[in-house]
């Protein structure tokens, strides 16, 4: 029901037992380890402790982990891992995993994966080189001279090059005139460029080059390959087929290798486990023979942890103490089953800080009501509850996902309730009389009801703030800051009832006067006190806008109902014969699924906002840190013989 007590654990033991102790903590999963180096000033650290061993071992394990992960990624490119989320993970003993991690066969699989990858890369680069050659040679297909023979002789110069298509004839004519001992052969020509082979007598160099310069000639460097261009292109096509076959072989081999995937996964988890331990071992302070370890443990678990440690290492020294004011104590919450899913909402804002109490019971009640009213369709509620409940059973989730699914399930129940109250069953698909009223007929009543819910939550928020002040011994603060506001707000609300007008005036004025007199009490001089007091009344607009903000409950509820009606109306237009009925059913399913999705998201977001902005602003500070115990985190396997305490 609240924030759980946390103890600080200190352990001193022999260094040779450190591995054993850390391994046990990992299996227990009840201790959050503190990095001593981080909280100790450097000069103290140097006086007290030896510098730790090098991180070479860690790097080595990280390297191996990287290798295994590479092999897994490589293989999953060829044979996607198709494991159902519902499948039970295989369980291994740690000794077995250790043995696997040293198996020759496993590492040969990893190596072969690397080799295959290298080969694929080689093929790829070869292919790229080849395709660039082919791209250059394609326009030269008509050239029937082997490329290696295309070079100057003693008396003649031979150059491939390109000219603008329009100027080919001009160049030919000029060459004929000024350098008769030359030839220009057009190999290929398109709208812009002509690829040509130019042959001329070397002695005519200057004349030829002048002509060329005038006509924007550019020399083409043909790649240094053997054979005529068409032979080369032909050869490239042939090689492409070889490459494809090679790729096929790699793929086949990879799918053979992926039989080892199970073992790779186990070893992957094994190395992760080892790395986790190494990380924790690095947080201790070490002397030559001993080490010192600190951690956070919940008070409930303290005794169990002590027993477990002493059972494993009888000569260890272990003690528990209350956290100091300056300590960065993590937060653990313990709430009944109904409230637990709503912890997610608060955690996403910020876990309770040092001066906070656990607000989740309050949050859960309001969130439950608001979420349901914002969707308010019994049909949708049943769908949400069903989905959430099924997923909880089938997936057996942990942590955040479990809370989210719990939230959906509970939200669905609330949605069903409010849907029945307002007569919404998949919009107006099923004609059911509303138990209370139809919001479309009388939106004003529901708007006022939404405001009332808002007023209630704001008063609860004020109450929570007063409780916090009183608990901290600041009774006067509670009376002035929350009590007087409550008086003023009650007075203002009473104005809504004409027969209470007289009393309302008296109460409001009393509240306002009290606020003017007390809100400036921290100011030094009398003028400052009065100014702050008067200005504080301006906060009334804040309360007004807070209450108005709850109108979103009505608005989102109406939105769901009307969109459902739109879906139904459009679907019914289709239903005039057999095929029409089929189409209608499809349209109904798609439309309502969409509506559920968009409105569940909306209800989640806006219910959260009402907690964060309107409710928490009254009393909640947050800023705590969630308890993050050192646990065994495995992705693919379960560990056998997990420690029981």
């Amino acid at each position: 029901m609240a924030i759980v007590d946390i103890k600080k654990m200190s352990v001193i033991a022999l260094r040779r037992d450190k591995g054993k102790l850390v391994e046990m903590f990992q299996r227990l999963g009840k201790v959050e380890v503190i990095d001593i180096k981080e909280i100790t000033p450097v000069e103290d650290w140097n006086k007290l402790f030896e510098t730790d061993r090098s991180s070479r071992e860690v790097t080595e394990v990280q390297g191996k982990l990287g290798d295994v992960q590479f092999a897994m990624d490589f293989l999953s490119r060829y044979v996607p891992a198709k494991k159902s989320v519902f499948a039970e993970k295989p369980a291994y003993d740690e000794a077995v995993m250790e043995e696997m991690s040293r198996s020759q066969q496993l590492w040969s699989v990893v190596k072969e994966c690397r080799d295959l990858e290298t080969r694929l890369n080689a093929i790829k680069s070869e292919e790229m080189k080849q395709s660039s050659v082919v791209d250059i040679l394609r326009p030269w297909k008509g050239l029937d001279v082997p490329l290696q023979e295309l070079g100057p002789t003693e008396k003649t110069a031979i150059y491939p090059g390109s000219l603008p298509s329009g100027s080919v004839d001009k160049v030919k004519a000029q060459l004929k005139e000024k350098a008769p001992e030359s030839s220009l052969e057009v190999i290929s020509i398109d709208r812009e460029l002509a690829n040509v082979l130019l042959v001329y007598r070397k002695s005519l160099e200057s004349e030829v080059s002048e002509i060329l310069k005038e006509n924007s000639w550019s020399r083409v460097e043909l790649p240094p390959v053997e054979g005529t261009p068409s032979e080369v292109i032909e050869g490239a096509l042939q090689k492409e087929k070889d490459f494809e076959a090679e790729r096929q072989r790699v793929a086949e081999r990879a799918s053979e290798l992926s039989e080892s995937r199970d073992r790779l996964e186990a070893v992957y988890d094994y190395y992760n486990m080892i790395l986790g331990r190494m990380g924790v071992e690095g947080t201790t302070g070490n002397t030559r023979e001993t080490f010192y370890l600190e951690g956070w443990v919940t008070a409930v678990n303290a005794e169990k942890v002590r027993n477990a440690v002493l059972k494993k290492i009888p000569e260890a020294y272990i003690t528990f103490s209350d956290p100091k004011e300056t300590d960065d104590v993590p937060v653990v919450l313990k709430n009944p089953g109904f409230v637990e899913p709503f912890e997610m909402i608060t955690d996403l804002y910020s876990p309770p800080g040092k001066r906070d109490f656990d607000p989740n019971v309050l949050v859960s009640i309001f969130y439950f009501i608001f979420f349901g009213m914002m969707i308010s369709d019994a049909g949708y509620g049943i769908v949400l509850t069903g989905l959430g409940f099924w997923a909880l059973k089938a997936l057996k989730p942990k942590g955040m996902l479990k809370k989210l699914l719990g939230l959906i399930t509970l939200g669905g129940i609330s949605t069903t309730f409010w849907g029945a109250m307002f007569g919404g069953w998949f919009g107006d698909l099923l004609p059911a009389k509303p138990i209370w009223m139809n919001p479309l007929d009388d939106p004003m009543s529901l708007l006022i009801f939404s405001f009332i819910l808002g007023v209630v939550q704001i008063f609860v928020g004020l109450g929570a703030a007063a409780y916090k002040n009183i608990k901290a011994g600041k009774v006067l603060d509670a009376v002035f800051d929350q009590g007087l506001w409550a008086v003023l707000l009650v007075g203002l609300i009473m104005f809504a009832f004409p027969q209470l007008g007289g009393t309302a005036k008296i109460i409001s004025v009393a509240g306002a006067a009290g606020l003017v007199l007390t809100q400036g009490r921290s100011k030094k001089n009398i003028l400052g006190k009065l100014m702050s007091g008067v200005l504080s009344l301006y906060d009334v607009t804040g309360y007004l806008s807070d209450v108005l903000s709850y109108s979103r409950i009505l608005a989102l509820g109406l939105a769901t109902g009307v969109i459902a009606m739109v879906v139904n109306t459009m679907a019914k237009m289709l239903g005039f014969n057999i095929i029409g009925y089929l189409l209608m059913t499809v349209a109904l399913i798609i439309g309502h699924t969409f509506n559920i999705a968009i409105n569940a998201l909306g209800a989640y977001v806006h219910s959260s906002r009402l907690q964060y902005v309107e409710f928490f602003s009254k009393f909640y500070e947050g800023g705590g840190r969630t308890f993050n115990p050192f646990v065994l985190k495995t992705k693919y396997i379960n560990l056998l013989n997990e420690e029981e305490i």
Binding site: L447, S551, R552, L558, V562, I598, R609
Partner: protein
Amino acid sequence: MLELKFALTQGQFLSLMGAALAVLLAGTGSAIGVGIAGQAAAGVVTEDPAKFGQTLLLQALPGTQGIYGLLTGFVIMQKIGIIGGNIAEISTQSGLLIFAAALPIAFVGLFSAIYQGKASAAGMGIVAKRPEELAKGITYAAMVETYAVLALLASILMIFGINI
């Protein structure tokens, strides 16, 4: 010319104009907003494809204004009987009232969706660097939507309140 003037002051036309504006402007706003958020989302996903779900959630947020617009348009269409197939006789006065009632969601929808899109796009940065804080990014974007919700409420209450 006279005929056109007559048609333009018809109650039915004015009401439909209101419905059309609500759908059109709010929808345009959502399209722009979702587009802005989508561009940022694609950037995040190029770095880490696993964040598709989270970014999609953020991208969807500015889409609600379009739905609110459609919803208002639908309520108007139902009010004037265009959905049932037989349009009611509507005075110019009532038509103008309905037209005015459509304006809040039309314009607030247009602008809030665009700015919500920008807030969502900025929230993508949170997803990229600190995915566990997604809820905060969502909340920032949802703060903008408040005004679209209020406008929707105003439009709907106005339409319900008009007697034709």
